[in-house]
């Protein structure tokens, strides 16, 4: 069991890890996707680099620095997070399950909102972003899951025993691997979702249609917004709401860096990471 698991290895996540590890906590950092920092070509507004530095270099240096300090780092996709008894958290990745006493989200700025016409209008009226929260309302219905990655498969598996049938809509992308009599895969490109009071059908680019009772959105790699919904963390426009100590509304869950909104800058991420790391130390001492 870890004292704290940090999701994300950008400046906020690494910084949180450094402070927690130096206070002798048992720290695991899990990350999968490229951080925003890694994509930054040249950084010239950060303290201490007179000739600037590439985002990639700073990012990779940060990960090495954490490794050198003895922090466990794993490059795995997190597909689910569950709250256990006694304020413990279970982090489920594509490869395994890890338990910790605290969690820090440092998952960055990425948003998984599909640019499909109508999706926004039917949120809460047939469009859902959380299988475990809303699956109950779709018992014996014919529903769809939008996505094609491991997260989409995980959401499909949550729904498999509830729904009558599930169609995985890849929206023109590659077919995922899943074997079940209840699950169909449809690769047609989506034009729009339609309905009256609630979602009723999916219209495809090739002028064909499909009836559906519900659409679960599970695009790409799940980020802070998706996990916040599953756990009940308060968000504001998909940004995690934290107080000045980087605490969310759930004891033991913290967030730092771009996923809390505000300035999307390294300096702010490093500060928030440090604060979150120190706050976890205080929390676990209690």
């Amino acid at each position: 069991m870890y004292d704290v698991i940090i999701i994300g290895a950008g400046p906020a996540g690494i910084s949180a890890g450094l402070y927690a590890k130096r206070a002798n906590l048992n720290v695991l950092i899990i990350y999968k996707e490229q951080a925003g920092l890694e994509k930054a070509e040249q950084i010239e507004n950060y303290y201490g680099f007179e000739n600037g530095i590439t985002g990639k270099e700073l990012y990779e240096t940060g990960i090495r620095q954490a490794q050198n300090l003895g922090i466990d780092i794993k490059r795995e996709e997190v597909i689910n997070i569950q709250m256990e008894e006694k304020n413990e958290y279970k982090i489920i990745t594509e490869n395994g399950t890890y338990i910790s006493k605290a969690v820090i989200f440092a998952t960055g700025n990425k948003k998984n909102v599909p640019k499909i016409k109508g999706i926004k209008d039917f949120e809460g009226r047939g469009v859902s972003y959380c299988a475990v929260c809303d699956g109950f309302f779709y018992r014996n219905k014919d529903i769809s899951v939008l996505g094609n990655g491991k997260y989409a498969i995980s959401e499909t598996n949550e729904l498999i025993n509830i729904a009558n049938s599930i169609t995985i809509l890849t929206d023109g992308k590659e077919e995922p691997e899943i074997r079940s009599d209840k699950v169909k895969i449809d690769t047609r490109k989506i034009r729009e979702v339609r309905g009256d009071k609630r979602i009723e059908e999916i219209d495809f680019e090739d002028n064909t249609k499909m009836k559906t009772d519900g659409l679960f959105v599970a695009l790409g790699v799940a980020g802070s917004a998706e996990f916040a919904k599953k756990l009940g963390i308060i968000t504001n426009k998909d940004r995690i709401v934290v107080n000045e100590n980087m605490e969310t509304n759930i004891p033991g869950i913290y967030a730092c860096g771009d996923c809390t909104g505000g300035l999307l800058q390294i300096s702010k991420a490093v500060y928030e990471g440090a604060k979150a790391g120190l706050q976890v130390v205080r929390y676990l001492k209690k």
Binding site: Q82, M83, E123, G124, R125, G126, S128, C130, V132, C133, D134, F136, F137, Y138, K197, R198, G214, A228, K229, K230, L231, G232, I233, I234, T235, N236, V241, N249, I250
Partner: protein, 103 residues
């Protein structure tokens, strides 16, 4: 301070025929996020004790109510004013956001 238990049997009397604002929290016992919402609802009930009636609907026991109000995601929080639905929040919502509608 008291948080009402709204049910199919008393919803009309306690919510729809109620004067002023009524806050309704649709939840279920198995729903993790609902457990996070619950203390926020309790705080609101306490703070606005004088002015707003606050209650919870267990969707497992009151499926007809959930269907009637198109609840397809929980927690869902609804604000009624003089029996009319005036605002719906889907998912765990910041207390301040809810208070803004109630005050």
């Amino acid at each position: 301070m008291s948080v009402f238990k709204f049910e199919e049997g008393n919803f009309e009397e306690e919510v729809l025929k109620s004067e002023g604002k009524v806050l309704v929290d649709f939840y279920a016992d198995w729903c993790g996020p609902c457990k996070m919402m619950s203390p926020i609802i309790d705080e609101i009930a306490k703070e606005l004790e004088e002015s707003v009636k606050v209650g919870k609907v267990n969707v497992d026991n009151n499926q007809e109510l959930a269907i009637k109000y198109d609840v397809m995601s929980i927690p869902t929080i609804m604000v009624f004013q003089n029996g009319m639905l005036v605002k719906t929040f889907i998912g765990v919502t910041d207390k301040k956001e809810i208070l803004d509608v109630l005050k």
